[in-house]
């Protein structure tokens, strides 16, 4: 057939007849968004996102269903098309109820994937948690102690019982990693040769330096104080943030090659000019808000005993010896600095510490937990008072004159404004006064040659890019925003690094950090419907172990001691996993991002549905369904099950399991998970068999399924060293992305805690753990190559089988069927079996003597599809099959009569009683009709031979027979020369036997069991301590297929590659184990 020429967006392309616009666009890397199309399904046209302009057509055409024609002119990116897509997406979003990202992450100024790291902690992957945190925040040890944790305020668990202790969890993971002796060090890109200067080693500067260094830049930090940390060191007291710990975390940044020069004040020791002269290509200013604001009352200029909060804490941080024994300290202010100062004062021996605040406790900006701790430690509070005058004597304060206040109308901040009550003045004794009423920025480095733009004493920057008015100079953190939280400064440092990286690479700085579309159930916690949370069980929040009051007195020991591992895991379990499990793959989110769709523009009524968790493997969240119908169609069109269907009309249309039952009780459902694989959003998701499901940024590895001989390609998704789930997609492998229940959902053994990881040897009739060395030595002593026998599992790779064949005189497999020998008998040793393509092209399929749907479910899908295309399907089996309904004829024949039945057919063919054959096989058992005989299941030598003879009698050959194998590498074993074990032919008596991956006792193979009990020496290689392994003299641990490389030969004879998704858990590859035997 000739090629078709057309243009897409003005570019000439060629296509094959029958291709759709969508097919051709994809081939040419033109994005046409679609939500309802899957290449395994017929075009449907429900999402309507793929409409494109076709010249001359009436209206815009659906790219997924419109075949290309000669000379077609297609436009996919016109304004009209894009506007329509945006509206289409906005309509879908208006009916969507769910959170893409959990509200904790959404609230975090740095956007840390909180749900993700909590899930890692729940799963015991602490370093993975830290790795994830450090994508956004290089200082988790610090933040885990000092963060104001806005995330927790928005935690949905607040609506169930109490918030999740997010910050404590972060601290746990961070401490664990830092003290693990093998802490996480991020990958650093190759050096760019560019130099960047960072001014200030506070949170903003450290963060900026970290992300710049990761990108391969050469970073130097200039810090005016003798040590790093900025306000983290000089603003936060030791009992909250131990300096030694802080230093350890700063060291992790230095490990990336960041140099810190201390006691270098910007504007004095180093200047803009000097930095430029020294070859710094870019400068980041993260100098913070270091100067305390004056109290603003009379008598403040008292030379001794009146300090600002920052000064006071700074002096303590610098190690100045301040003794407040017996002193009455009055702290003025209501913020975190006031609390820190007051608690520090207590520790320095003050007899009485009073916080004086001009509003009430409710209005205090300090964190609630901090206020509680201060109260617990004995700090006193006086509310609704303001200082008028500090009265001093001999340069030392004696008392403060206060005036009482009352609250008036709310001011710009929304808090009620305090107003003086005339005549209410009173005196409060004070011999040490700390004014913690705010900080400001020291911008003295600005001069004529370095004229940065300033507004309200803050540096002016581009909000997204953090560029200043001077090229190459960037700024972020408190110096830009005024005093804020550490996490905001950290976020700013990262944002600046992103801009600086572009600048250093010589690009124009245009890109801000990419922001993906985020759907939210509600903007704020208080807007949520509490009812939705009634379903959750209440779970007590883990308490942070803390020093008691006595233990805290007059010392600066860290008060919060940190979670234990058990506590951390339990607390992590409290997370509700609000964010969508499909967030990393969701197509709706992807397209909403691309087209700039807004959640609320077309907002309207939405119906909320409970989440259906009744299915063992699948979670069904109708709130996220976009009615694309892919699940309904794949279930019917591909799987033939028809378990899902559309219900109701109009806006109320939903997709439901048959007869309105819960999904898990739908007898039509085959648990294949095809619906999950095709769902473009998070409406259908796998239930991940882990303590917490993530979602994680998963690594995917294509490999071959381990369950039957079809040889399906699947993707193993892993997060760190944990297997998460198996997935697939259209176009992948001989299975075209289809998988069955086993392939998709029965792989959790990979993560099993019962896996054998170390060898075991029998001592005093008991199996005990041993070293590889010892175990292998015992095997070597007891196995003599001349007599030893290997029993090989059909899950062994070709390479493993070959290696075993080399080492053992005889090799058998207990469960192996010898049908292949039957075919060899008739067609010769090198016969070529039919392939799956022959199923597609067959006019007659005789499924002889087994239920392919049960044994090889994905191959059965091809049979079903062929029958729907018009092939005559004849099912001959003992039990009824789900394929029967697609068959033209169904014959019930007992398993042990299959050979007779086949021979009778052969006889009829030979005797030319063709009417008889025709009655069964529609007269299509002849070469011209592409007939295909499929055998498998329990078929052995005799059945296969009979089938081969039937084919031969009809003038057909091996290419008309497909022998489906039961296990992933049955055919591979046969090709390597492994034989089916037959007790009457091969004796194991008194022989040394190595069983490689089989468990005949566990599956009650009586013959095998009997033979095994007679062995002289038994070594078993397995993943688990199976019933067979329990009999062994030596047990060697094996890796799962997820940790194995090699090849499998599928039923077609196709050799396919296994790729390892995880590192071998046993420390040795399976092949190495065999080689060391």
């Amino acid at each position: 057939m000739g090629k078709i020429n057309l243009t897409i967006n003005g570019i000439a392309v060629t296509a094959n007849p029958g291709q759709t616009i969508l097919d051709v666009a994809r081939e040419n890397d033109v994005l046409i968004p679609t939500l309802c199309h899957d290449d395994r399904l017929k075009p449907f046209g429900s999402c309507l996102l793929c409409r494109v302009e076709v010249e001359g057509a009436r209206g815009n055409m659906l790219a997924c269903g419109t075949q290309v024609t000669e000379g077609m002119v297609v436009r996919t990116e016109t304004e009209g098309v894009n506007d329509a897509r945006k509206m289409c997406l906005e309509l879908l979003l208006s009916q969507h109820y769910g959170d893409c990202t959990a509200p904790c992450s959404m609230t975090c100024p740095a956007g840390i994937d909180v749900q993700g790291y909590i899930a890692h902690i729940a799963n015991g992957q602490y370093q993975e948690a830290v790795k994830l945190i450090k994508e956004r925040n290089p200082l988790p040890v610090v933040c885990g102690r000092v963060c104001t944790r806005p995330c927790e305020d928005q935690c949905r668990r607040n609506l169930v019982d109490e918030r999740v202790g997010i910050d404590y969890l972060k601290r746990f993971a961070a401490d664990y990693d830092l003290n693990s002796g093998n802490h996480y060090v991020p990958y650093k890109k190759p050096s760019t040769g560019k130099k960047a200067a960072v001014i200030g080693a506070g949170p903003a500067g450290l963060s900026c330096a970290f992300y710049l260094a990761k990108e391969g830049h050469d970073v130097t930090i200039f810090e005016r104080w003798p040590k790093g940390g900025g306000m983290l060191r000089y603003g936060i007291p030791e009992y909250r943030m131990p300096k030694a710990t802080l230093d350890k975390e700063i060291d992790t940044i230095k490990e990336l090659g960041v140099e810190i020069q201390y006691e270098k004040t910007f504007g004095v020791d180093v200047t803009y000019e000097s930095l430029k002269k020294d070859g710094y290509d870019a400068i980041f200013l993260g100098v913070g808000s270091q100067v305390g604001q004056p109290i603003g009352c009379e008598g403040e200029a008292c030379p001794m005993g009146v300090y600002s909060g920052v000064d006071f804490l700074g002096r303590v941080g610098l190690g100045h010896n301040i003794d407040l024994s017996g002193k009455h300290v009055v702290v003025i202010g209501g913020g975190n600095t006031a609390i820190d100062a007051s608690r520090t004062a207590l520790r320095l021996g003050a007899e009485k510490v009073t916080i004086a605040y001009r509003r009430t406790k409710k209005e205090m900006p300090a964190h609630e937990m901090e206020i509680e701790e201060a109260e617990y430690e004995g700090v006193e509070f006086e509310f609704l008072i303001a200082p008028k005058k500090i009265v001093s004597e001999a340069g030392k304060p004696i008392y403060i004159e206060f005036i009482r206040m009352e609250l008036g109308e709310p001011d710009a901040s929304g808090r009620r404004r305090p107003i003086e009550i005339p005549g209410s003045e009173f005196q409060m004794p004070a011999d040490y006064v700390i004014g913690a009423i705010g900080q400001t920025q020291d911008l003295s480095f600005i001069n004529e040659n370095f004229k940065l733009e300033v507004n309200r004493n803050r540096l002016v920057v581009d909000e997204d890019l953090l560029t200043t008015n001077i090229e190459g100079v960037f700024a972020g953190g408190d110096v830009v925003t005024g005093p804020q939280t550490a996490i905001k400064a950290i976020a700013a440092g990262r944002r600046a690094a992103y801009s600086m990286d572009q600048y250093l690479r010589g690009k124009k700085i245009i890109e801000k950090l990419p922001e993906l579309y985020n759907h939210v159930k509600a903007e704020k916690l208080e807007d949520m419907d509490k009812k939705e949370f009634e379903q959750y069980e209440k779970k007590e929040k883990m308490k942070m172990p803390m020093l008691n009051k006595e233990e805290r007195k007059h010392n600066f020991k860290e008060v919060e001691l940190g979670f234990t591992e058990e506590q951390a895991k339990a607390e992590a379990q409290r997370c509700l996993s609000c964010g969508c499990k499909d967030v990393n793959e969701c197509k709706l989110r992807e397209f909403a991002t691309i087209y700039g769709a807004k959640q609320d523009r077309l907002a309207g009524a939405i119906t909320k549905h409970p989440i259906d968790e009744s299915h063992p493997f699948i979670s069904r969240d109708k709130n996220k369904c976009i009615m694309c119908g892919r699940c309904v169609r794949i279930c019917l069109e591909v799987q033939g099950a028809g378990a899902l269907g559309f219900i109701s009309r109009g806006y109320n249309t939903t997709i439901e399991p048959s007869f309105g039952k819960p999904f898990g009780e739908d007898s039509r459902c085959e648990s294949c998970g095809q619906c999950v694989s095709t769902c473009p959003v998070g409406a259908l998701t796998e239930k991940v068999e882990l303590p917490k499901p993530g979602p994680f940024a998963e690594k995917t590895t294509e490999t071959i399924c381990n369950h039957c001989g079809t040889g399906c390609t699947l993707k193993l998704n892993t997060a760190g060293d944990v297997f998460v789930r198996a997935t697939s997609e259209a176009g992948l492998g001989v299975n075209n992305g289809n998988l069955c229940e086993k392939g998709r959902f029965q792989n959790s053994f990979i993560n099993s805690p019962d896996r054998l990881l170390k060898p075991m040897v029998r001592k005093d009739d008991k199996l005990v753990e041993s070293t590889w060395e010892e175990a292998l030595k015992i095997v070597a002593e007891n196995m003599k190559a001349e007599t030893a026998v290997a029993i090989v599992s059909e899950k062994a790779t070709n390479e493993e089988a070959a290696e075993l064949m080399k080492r053992f005189k005889e090799a058998y497999s207990f469960e192996l069927k010898d049908a292949a020998y039957g075919l060899q008998e008739v067609f010769g040793k090198d016969y070529k079996n039919a392939t799956y393509e022959d199923i597609d092209n067959a006019d007659l399929i005789l499924c002889l003597g087994f239920d392919i749907k049960e044994e090889n479910p994905v191959a059965a899908l091809k049979v079903k599809a062929a029958s729907e295309k018009g092939a005559v399907l004849v099912m001959v089996s003992q039990a009824s099959s789900k394929l029967d309904k697609f068959a033209k004829m169904v014959v019930r024949v007992d398993d042990n009569k299959v050979r007779e039945y086949t021979e009778a057919l052969t006889k009829a063919v030979k005797d030319e009683k063709l009417a008889e054959v025709a009655a069964t096989l529609d007269g299509k058992l002849k070469v011209e009709a592409n007939p295909l005989i499929i055998i498998g299941g329990a078929a052995g030598y005799a059945e296969a031979k009979a089938a081969a003879e039937l084919a031969k009698a009809s003038g057909l050959g091996a290419q008309n027979i497909l022998l489906m194998q039961n296990k992933p590498n049955s055919l591979g074993l046969i090709n390597e020369g492994v034989k089916a074990f037959k007790a009457d032919e091969c004796s194991l008596k008194d022989k040394a036997v190595l069983i490689y991956g089989e468990d005949p006792i566990g599956i009650e193979n009586v013959e095998a069991e009997k033979s095994l009990k007679e062995t002289g020496f038994l070594a078993v290689c397995d993943m688990f301590l199976t019933e067979t392994a329990k009999l062994a003299d030596v047990v060697l641990p094996l890796n799962s297929f997820a940790e194995t490389e090699g090849t499998y030969t599928n039923s077609e004879g196709r050799v396919q590659k296994l790729n390892k998704a995880l590192e071998p858990k046993t420390g040795k590859t399976n092949l190495d184990v065999i080689k060391s035997l």
Binding site: P43, F44, G45, S46, C47, L48, L49, R51, G59, N60, L62, G65, T66, Q67, D83, A84, M87, C88, L91, L92, S94, Q95, L602, G604, A605, I626, M627, G629, G645, F646, S648, R649, G650, Y651, N652, T653
Partner: protein, 600 residues
């Protein structure tokens, strides 16, 4: 002259009662029983018969009396009592009851205007034959056209004839029928289907039902001719299960035709075979969309499919299929029998023949009318329909049901053909005409139709499923007085996208009622949104009932009729309405004899 009269003896009478759904609903069966009793009692040689809809639904029950000379007199609004009187006077005494006559062969009546401008092709046998009698149908030319086609014409010639007649699909979009047949003929397949869309779903449209009930043979013959033309041997009639009488009469007609050898194998001794099956639909509006209809016949959920491929290429069970609606097929036999030229005499350049309209709403003479294309809208509404039933000012006519639009009074000169109607923003549709007077709020009308389409959307495509819902929500808030600035623009944006991008005709036309009312009555929307007023005084949230003190005489009638006791006042003193209680039902206003109650 009616058929079957020739063998009547002098002095005999034939009484025919109109027993279409309209007649039955008006009490036709009781009238029929009354005549039956009179006949039995009098022992007079009177034949009693039934027929389908005669068109004058507003005058049901209709009874036709034919004497042995073949002269016909039709009585309107007949009750069993009137039947007794008619029998007594007309049959026994030979004196027709003139005052009840609505149509007569040799007498002018006030209702003649209803018929004068009509031209009956589709309805040629409706109301003239007993629909359950194939003989009567045959006596009026049924099955002559198929005979002519089979015996004297090739399929290509049949298609040519239909093409030349200019017949366009009467289901809504007006696609040339001959062209459709040509495509189906061109599709190569050993199996093809003819499908009749009898899933009449537009609120206010009932022409297909009337044809099915009044003359099922015209449909059967039309489908047969189509089958012959495209090479199909099987036909499906997809009819609403809510049309039991139509289905019953269709079944009888099919059975009778089969018995006569007019349907089945080797029809009239030719090679042509054709069978017809009836598929009853469950009444989903979307199943009137041709691809959804095909899915429904196949036993699937009624959901439209993507086009292309068109049904002519891949239709029922993926076989080439021709789909037309009842009225379209009902035209075909006439065209074949009388020739394309005869048919094309009627109508305008691009819209040939006649069109049946169902007149409903606030129209004086509601019923079924068939007029030649090209007639002006005002002729139908005023000359045939007699203007508004309320006597109030005519405001607009909604044409084409929920897919159509409102044509305002200013455009009453519009000529009725496909293209002129389309230009107004409405569509010909199946031919429903809902007449509205000044009391109709146009925003509310749009809301009403959108409520219908939203409920009937199949839920498949995004624009229709969610888009129409969002439009409806906006309209609802406007009629509730909660409309906001920008709502009209948002509606327009939604309309444009839904119209352009929806998968099927249902969605693509769903915005039409909104678009046309926005086009012609934008000020009403603005009044609702900006002034919080409903100019037609219909939207309850925006109106208030008040009693004019100077007009109220304190008769207490209103307070007695108020269902929620919102009206208080002493006898002979002006009353008051408590608007916090008032449900705005309007009962008081209807009761007040002094025009003392007003709506603001």
């Amino acid at each position: 002259m009616r058929i079957g009269v020739s063998n009547m003896k002098k002095g005999d009478f034939k009484i025919i009662v109109g027993l279409g759904s309209c007649g039955i609903a008006a009490g036709g069966n009781k009238v029929y029983e009354a005549f039956k009793a009179n006949i039995e009692k009098s022992n007079k040689p009177v034949t009693l018969d039934e027929t389908g809809c005669m068109g004058m639904c507003y005058k049901e029950v209709l009874v036709e009396v034919i004497d042995s000379d073949g002269k016909s007199i039709i009585y309107g609004e007949v009750t069993p009592e009137k039947a007794n009187k008619i029998f007594e006077s007309h049959i026994i005494e030979g004196k027709p009851v003139i005052e009840w006559v609505v149509k007569a062969d040799d007498m002018e009546t006030s209702e003649d205007a209803f018929f004068n401008k009509q031209m009956r092709i589709v309805l040629r046998r409706c109301g003239a034959i007993n629909p359950e009698s194939i003989d009567e149908a045959i006596a009026m030319d049924a099955y002559k056209a198929i005979e002519k086609a089979i015996k004297t014409m090739t399929p290509e010639q049949v298609i040519e004839e239909v093409l030349n007649s200019g017949l366009r699909g009467r289901g809504g979009a007006g696609f040339p029928t001959g062209m459709k047949w040509k495509f189906a003929r061109a599709s190569q397949d050993s199996k093809k289907y003819i499908v009749c869309n009898a899933d009449e779903g537009d609120p206010g449209a009932f022409m297909d039902r009337s044809v099915l009930e009044g003359d099922p043979h015209s449909l059967i013959e039309g489908m047969m001719i189509a089958g012959y033309a495209i090479g199909a041997d099987e036909g499906y009639i997809y009819a609403r299960a809510e049309y039991p009488l139509a289905i019953q009469r269709l079944k009888i007609a099919i059975r009778d035709a089969e018995e006569r050898g007019l349907l089945g194998k080797n029809i009239l001794g030719s090679d042509f075979s054709f069978k017809i099956k009836i598929k009853e639909g469950a009444g989903a509006f979307v199943c009137g969309e041709e691809t959804a209809l095909l899915g429904s016949i196949e036993g699937k959920r009624g959901m439209p499919r993507m086009r292309p491929p068109f049904p002519a290429v891949k239709g029922l069970w993926d076989k080439p299929t021709n789909i037309n609606n009842v009225e379209t097929y009902a035209n075909v036999a006439y065209i074949i029998l009388h020739g394309a030229a005869e048919y094309a005499k009627y109508g305008t350049e691009k819209s040939k023949g006649t069109k049946v309209f169902a007149l409903a709403g606030k129209i004086a003479k509601g019923g079924l009318v068939e007029v030649p294309m090209g007639m002006q809208l005002k002729e139908i509404i005023y000359d045939i329909g007699g203007g508004t039933s309320s006597g109030k000012k005519f405001k607009a006519v909604q044409m084409g049901g929920p897919s159509g639009g409102c044509i305002p009074a200013d455009l009453i000169d519009t000529i009725i053909d496909y293209d002129s109607v389309n230009q107004t923003g409405a569509i010909m549709g199946s031919g429903g005409m809902v007449v509205m007077d000044e009391d109709n709020c146009m925003v509310d009308i749009a809301r009403f139709f959108l409520t219908f389409t939203q409920k009937e959307s199949c839920g498949k495509c995004t624009y229709c499923r969610i888009g129409t819902k969002r439009m409806l929500e906006i309209l609802e808030r406007i009629t509730k007085g909660e409309g906001k600035e920008g709502d009209i623009e948002l509606l327009e944006e939604l309309c444009a996208n839904i119209k352009k991008n929806s998968l099927c005709g249902l969605g693509q036309t769903a915005p039409n009622p909104v678009l046309t009312t926005l086009k012609y009555f934008r000020h009403e929307y603005e009044a609702h949104i900006r002034d919080k007023k409903c100019p037609a005084k219909q939207c309850k949230a925006l109106i208030e009932y008040k009693i004019l003190e100077d007009k109220c005489i304190g008769c207490t009638a209103c307070s007695r009729v108020c269902p929620v006791k919102a009206i208080s006042g002493e006898v002979k003193k002006a009353h008051k309405i408590d608007s916090s209680i008032c449900t705005k039902c309007g009962a008081c206003k209807a009761t007040c004899k002094f025009d003392a109650i007003i709506v603001e």
